[in-house]
């Protein structure tokens, strides 16, 4: 529904600015709105209304037909235009020239235009200039001979309330995040003048109606509270600006507006005293260091092999000189051979299997030991001996191969 959904590339800054504008609308009409959804949720919707009202002003007493209205708002999508027209008609800002059916020409309401002017003014310089206006008006009222003490008390109480709310808001901002404070910093500008005006008004009321001293005390307290709050906020702002070297103390929109509206001389004055040379890349020493250290290496660095955490004991003493195992095997082999050169394996194994398998394992070890002159030779056959201890036997010889 929003006209900006088509060009979704709008920057975050634009969204922020739009959000700030909407914030003003919501604040202003919070007292009037029936529910939170009743206020527009896109600043461009207000632009539609303003375009329409301007066109009505130009059209004069003739009013505008529906097609003319559509033509004026041709740069907005049709559904946005229809929506706005329906709302404006519903609220009475745009109505038929004559209240009868099938009426084709419309006229705009004077009140809505004035209301919109007020909205625009509040949007441009916030509630602060409105406060200036109120103070000036009140000053005139106080000087008016027809003014009664009751009216003066009402005025003073209203002002005291406004100042209190204002200082509460400032205190909240001061205790909040610095970004928010920086964004709302325009609220702090020109506080001295407002304080002066308010105190002058307070003095005028007190001089003319000394019986209002209680009300005036309230007003005075509110004014001083406001002064304290704004000074504290400004101090926090300047503290943070001193440490961050941040140039965004003004809201970004203010910089942008200046850049767009300043004359050429004003813009050039910013750069007085600077000399430019042709743009050249900059090589920071740390960047040079980083470039060399990130360079592709001549040889990839090889990780060192893992080392034990205990000290290296050096070479092992066990060099295979221990002959106990070999001697044992040799004894067993000689015991089995009993001086012969070869024995049949099945004869050797002709005993209970538990002992026979131990002997078979020893014979295999003697066969496999490279330093012992014995070997096992197996034939291809397989004898089945149903009553024997190993129930099948492959005939083979255990023989001496050397001295």
């Amino acid at each position: 529904m929003s006209p900006t959904t088509e060009n979704a590339a709008a920057s975050l800054d634009d969204v922020l600015v739009g959000e700030a504008v909407l914030g003003v609308y919501r604040q202003m009409f919070a007292a009037l709105a029936r529910d939170s959804g009743a206020v527009v949720d896109d600043p461009e919707l207000v632009d539609v209304a303003e375009t329409l009202l301007a066109a009505f002003a130009d059209a004069g007493e003739e009013g505008l037909s529906r097609e003319q209205m559509r033509h004026v708002c041709r740069r907005y999508p049709p559904e946005v235009f229809e929506n706005r027209l329906r709302v404006l008609k519903g609220l009475g800002a745009v109505r038929e020239v004559f209240p009868k059916p099938n009426q084709l020409r419309y006229r705009a309401s004077f009140t809505s235009v004035v209301g919109l002017m007020f909205v625009r003014r509040m949007m441009l310089d916030g509630g602060q200039s409105e406060m200036h206006r109120l103070l000036a008006l009140e000053q005139l009222n106080v000087a008016d001979p027809r003014m009664t003490p009751e009216q003066a008390r009402d005025g003073a109480e209203g002002l005291a309330r406004a100042f209190r709310l204002w200082s509460v808001e400032l205190v909240t901002l001061t205790n909040g995040t610095i970004e928010e404070l920086r964004e709302q910093a325009p609220k702090l500008w020109g506080t001295e003048e407002i304080l002066l005006r308010a105190e002058r008004l307070h003095g005028a009321i007190l001089r003319r109606w000394p019986q209002l001293d209680r009300t005036c005390t309230d007003l005075r307290a509110a004014i001083y509270a406001y002064g304290d709050a704004s000074r504290r906020a400004a101090a926090r702002l300047s503290d943070s600006a001193g440490t961050t070297r941040n140039l965004t103390l003004l809201p970004p929109e203010t910089w942008r507006t200046f850049a767009r509206t300043a004359t050429r001389d004003e813009l050039a004055a910013v750069l007085d005293g600077f000399v430019f040379d042709a743009a050249a890349p900059w090589h920071e020493p740390s960047a040079v260091v980083a470039a060399v250290e990130d360079a592709p290496r001549a040889a990839p660095p090889r990780p060192a092999p893992p080392r034990p955490s205990v000290p290296d004991p050096g070479l092992s003493d066990d060099t295979g000189s221990d002959t106990a195992a070999t001697d044992r095997l040799r004894d067993i082999a000689e015991e089995i051979l009993r001086g012969r050169d070869r024995v049949a394996v099945e004869d050797v194994l002709a005993r209970d299997w538990a002992a026979a398998r131990r002997i078979l394992a020893d014979l295999s070890s003697a066969h496999l030991h490279p330093g012992l002159p014995y070997r096992l030779v197996w034939s291809d056959g397989l004898d089945v001996r149903a009553e024997g201890s190993p129930t099948w036997v492959t005939p083979g010889w255990f023989e001496r191969t050397g001295p």
Binding site: A280, P281, V289, A291, D294
Partner: protein
């Protein structure tokens, strides 16, 4: 002069010359315009813009603003490091003005630093030397085969040089350093 150029504003001419020739160098006797940093070089002086508050363009990174685009930044900086290894012979002094070094030495140091074909590395490094000369980071005298630090190096703040000094110790030695040591020292003293 004005007659020869058809009455062109001399400021425009000077600016055009500066754009074509790089950072302008003026006779040291000339008055220095306000808002410029100078790099003295014998009887000439190089003029550069002075940045506010002692910042350098590296600050752009803090503001996430794109700096002047640079192709193969890593390679250019490695060649610059190789050149400084040869030209910045006394690391306790400032790198500017440094001492002249043979281009062949710089190419050899760069080839030692880099991986792969040494001949290819030399050709790349030659191109980077020319580009660094164009932007004022080195002064390259190609016919004489001599390179020396450029005036832009004088803009490095002293406080940022510690890591660079460390690095240059670790780079390979230029091949003719041993033979030239005495001569380079004598030249540096004469300066």
């Amino acid at each position: 002069m004005t007659a020869g150029h058809g009455g062109v504003d001399p400021h425009v001419l000077a600016r055009a010359r500066a754009r074509v020739l790089g950072g302008p160098s003026a006779p040291a006797a000339d008055p220095v315009p306000p808002g410029t940093a100078t790099a003295a070089d014998g009887d000439r002086v190089w003029l550069f813009p002075a940045w506010p508050d002692g910042a350098t363009p590296a600050l752009l990174e803090e503001y996430e603003t794109a700096p002047v685009p640079l192709d193969r930044a890593g390679q250019a900086r490695r060649v610059l490091a190789a050149a400084l290894r040869c030209c910045w012979t006394r690391p306790d002094d400032a790198p500017w003005p440094g001492s002249p070094a043979a281009v062949a030495d710089v190419l050899a140091v760069y080839a030692d630093m880099s991986r792969g074909d040494a001949g290819l590395a030399r050709r790349w490094a030659t191109g980077e030397l020319r580009r660094l000369h164009d932007t004022g980071w080195l002064l390259l005298d190609e016919p004489a085969g001599i390179v020396r630090p450029g005036p832009r190096i004088a803009l490095w703040p002293e406080s940022s040089l510690a890591s660079l000094r460390d690095l240059l110790h670790r780079l390979p030695q230029p091949p003719s350093r041993a033979g030239r040591d005495g001569a380079a020292g004598a030249e540096g003293d004469a300066r």
